[in-house]
Symmetry: C2
Subunit: 199 residues, 2 copies
Amino acid sequence: MTGLRERKKAASRAAMSQAAWRMLLEHGLDAVTPESVAAAADMAPRTFRYHFRNREEAILDGLAQQHMALAARIRERPAGEPVWDSLRHVLPAAVTEMFGDRAEFAKLVAVIADSPAMLAANLLVLEQGRQLMAGAIGERIGRTPQTDVYPGLLAGVAGTAISIAVTHWARGDDDTPLGDLIRDCLDRLRAGLPLETSP
Amino acid sequence: MTGLRERKKAASRAAMSQAAWRMLLEHGLDAVTPESVAAAADMAPRTFRYHFRNREEAILDGLAQQHMALAARIRERPAGEPVWDSLRHVLPAAVTEMFGDRAEFAKLVAVIADSPAMLAANLLVLEQGRQLMAGAIGERIGRTPQTDVYPGLLAGVAGTAISIAVTHWARGDDDTPLGDLIRDCLDRLRAGLPLETSP
DNA sequence: GCGGATGTTGCCGGAGATGCAATCTTGCAA
DNA sequence: TTGCAAGATTGCATCTCCGGCAACATCCGC
């Protein structure tokens, strides 16, 4: 499971992904090329292409990893706990630590805004996250997403809460902590999204 | 607005999009190339690239159009109607007419399943649809998605309902009409997605 | 230790995307 | 009607990106 081989492979991947991320923040999307990233990580360009389909995938790989970790944290919650409570318990903290620095994430949002490829890659990450989340939810409540709509719906709702909360948080004209924003969104969704303002 | 010029441009676009769609259903994704589609629509390959970024975009262009129409239909609902009711009124019918033939759509699902590019393109379409839906919802309730999370949350929920319902419907091991599935999903979401089974 | 499996790398070819400019069609006004 | 500007269609040339193939190095299991 944790053989030297797999660890080295993961290390290579992580090194390039982090290099790509830093390069995006400091020099913009155009500066992120297989060549530059590979050089920064001290590897061959071809190795970059072995691990990642394109630069967008490399840049977002870190986020993708953490999305996968989200599902795991859902599974780890005590067995009897209602799923909604599990989400409310896990998501605010997990997502907050996921997007540590607001300025960095604002930059990412800006890049996504004017790059269709980045947007598409980001949507892929989110979709994959939803799939895993649906699986985890289904496992907890004993229903498979294949035959029951519930896990998919709840995972979709959770994903929506995260996306909306993070987007508003990244905009920066509101200093509410990200965790509180997510809790607020989740609570509204759990209440069935009534129109009434509830400040 | 409806000058001859624009109609001709839209016609070219529609012709190629439909050709791409038919070609996908009959010969698979690999058969859909700018050259083949352009030939089928009696146009030059370069014209294909003038209208579409890639084959996936061409294939899904019809769906994208209808997603845009969705937002318009939300806006057309009577002014006093609660937004949730508007969704419940518009979505089942609109989506049902959107995916007329189950076999065709099942094919699309299959293609999406093993083509990351198709998946990404599809997610782009859905995301764009959500944006428009959020705008329409915000307009109806007098809140802009820019400063208020409500429109985005509700649009996200609506999108989730559609995606999940359509996916299950396309699987085909349940003969419930698509409209009923969507209504069911919407009702569950409006009720805050309680875990209890309610058959 | 040895053989198989797998990560790393270089080389190279095909496919896809884009800028440019020429040409034709349409919209509009003189 | 006629002429001009704007925009759609097309060809050409180029460029980048992606992936297959094969060689080599390293690691795992027996």
